[in-house]
Symmetry: C2
Subunit: 133 residues, 2 copies
DNA sequence: CTAACTGCAAAGTTTTTGCAATTGC
DNA sequence: GCAATTGCAAAAACTTTGCAGTTAG
């Protein structure tokens, strides 16, 4: 649950900067733990708690996106451009859907529900070509 | 991750039946724990483990749906009709989107990605009218 | 009879948090 | 200097699992 109203002053921190760079430079959709392991290669003393705190902060600021498939794990995405995801139900892999125009209007949903819509997520699931064999 | 190939013989169980009825007769999107509490009112000895086992089994059989927003919790939905969800980022409430024709073609995604698509999820998020005050 | 299912409790995962020390502005 | 941030470790939250006993077919 994102607290939308909470405006907090943030300082630069090299840990946060590192996390953001890792997320921006990888093309995958990593877990917090993967980011932690990756971050340790550059900063061997960074802690997992810091990784989580910064991922939450960055997501709340809208500088990264948090994805969520199935229970348990969150995945993070540093690509803010409008795009959607496909997920393989067998191997769990998550990939971007290259380019598709949504044709779903947030405004239409606002009229239907009375919600003020900020964003939408569209996720496809099925079986990838490797797993189909 | 859903194991698609696993076909298992199932017996009737009153616990599973109860869980399914609870889910079908409520219009909300409850957590496993809420279902557990509700189930205890009818069957005071049912265990949380049994609730989880049955929710997973029912979801794997496609008799219920598992939703997932943010980290931590799964929500369950007994309504199998095609529909989408809106979620309030402030209070966390999840509601159905009354009626909308998707206009998203799974087939188009199959062509783009090479995945064999089974389903898609579309979720809107924003702020509900109560929380907007 | 026997494989599926259950309750219980213990264990597993993932994420959050309290605290004292550190750091950016 | 002060508030934001950190590392650490402990705790919290959620889900799964092993086991011995029970139940549906």
């Amino acid at each position: 649950m994102i607290k939308e109203g909470k405006i907090k002053k943030t300082k630069f921190s090299k840990q946060r900067d590192l996390i953001l760079n890792i997320l921006r430079s990888c093309s995958c959709h990593p877990t917090a733990d993967w980011i932690f392991t990756e971050a340790r290669k550059t900063n061997p003393t960074i802690s997992l708690g810091t990784v989580y705190r910064n991922l939450n902060l960055l997501a709340a600021e809208g500088r990264i996106r948090e994805l969520c498939f199935g229970k348990g794990v969150s995945l993070y995405d540093g690509d803010l451009r409008d795009h959607y995801h496909v997920r393989c139900n067998v191997c769990g892999k998550v990939e971007d859907v290259p380019h598709i125009s949504p044709r779903v209007s947030d405004q239409q949903i606002e009229e239907l529900t009375g919600y003020q819509i900020h964003s939408h997520r569209l996720e496809f699931s099925g079986i990838c070509s490797e797993c189909r064999e």
